[in-house]
Symmetry: C2
Subunit: 150 residues, 2 copies
């Protein structure tokens, strides 16, 4: 980790969060630099499906924004870590209102990292997930290791 990295600038309020985090109403609650994080989200009526529940995809977006930062907290300045896959299991419906995300780095490789996360509402699990991310350096071709030939 590196206190001058973008992650810590945002977590410390020295930089604004990215637009996607604002859209999801994401705020940091606790950050363990060893790779565990607690964040909060706010589900709005804009996320609802026909059943009046938060569409599963928006829960997936929240899990992505839980697991990603757990890893990003461990990065040095100039590094970033695009997610290459994401798997989400939906446990029960979520409603408009606050949610809590808990993210963990299960494997912190030099490049390949394995992550897990849980999303809770009123202390009940609404969704769980896993993801794989790869660490890259800014300026390098981010996707060169994963992108297919054009």
């Amino acid at each position: 980790m590196d206190r001058d990295s973008v992650f810590w600038k945002i977590a410390d309020g020295r930089m604004p969060p990215p637009a996607c985090a604002k859209t999801l109403g994401m705020t940091f609650r606790r950050v363990d630099p060893a790779g565990c994080i607690e964040v909060a989200f706010e589900a709005t009526p804009a996320f609802l499906n026909l059943a009046g529940h938060v569409q599963g995809g928006f829960l997936a977006a929240m899990l992505d924004d839980t697991m990603g930062p757990a890893l990003v907290a461990t990065l040095d300045a100039g590094e970033f870590a695009p997610t290459v896959n994401l798997a989400v299991q939906f446990h029960r419906p979520a409603k408009v209102g606050p949610l809590k995300g808990i993210g963990r780095v299960l494997l912190r490789g030099r490049e390949v990292c394995q992550l897990s996360g849980e999303l809770l509402q009123h202390e009940r699990v609404v969704a769980t997930g896993t993801a794989t991310a790869v660490i890259r350096r800014m300026g390098a071709d981010t996707w060169s290791a994963v992108e297919k030939p054009a």
Copy 2:
């Protein structure tokens, strides 16, 4: 399928789309009632991460809103089909602008259904996914088959 189902009312413009679809800028392009669908999305600046790409979770939300409707098009009135899991592979970054989703029903069981989807931008695949959904009847306890005891 049932032309009086909520899906077809929305697809035919007789009912407004759900809020989550509006948020993702989703519109129907082609619907094959046998279980194949083409939809369009509009990625806005509100979906962007620090790298200036569409956050992967929002691509997952688009894939959920591609695969789900492919199945929902086949349902009778009074039926719905919550997604119980979703797996997404990210191929390359997506930018602000239009995307195309193609969803397919791989298995249309009486209850359990297996779905797949692709998300393209400028005719290049940006993400692929699979999902499992279970068919339920309105009024029944939606999640009774998947929800853990409280």
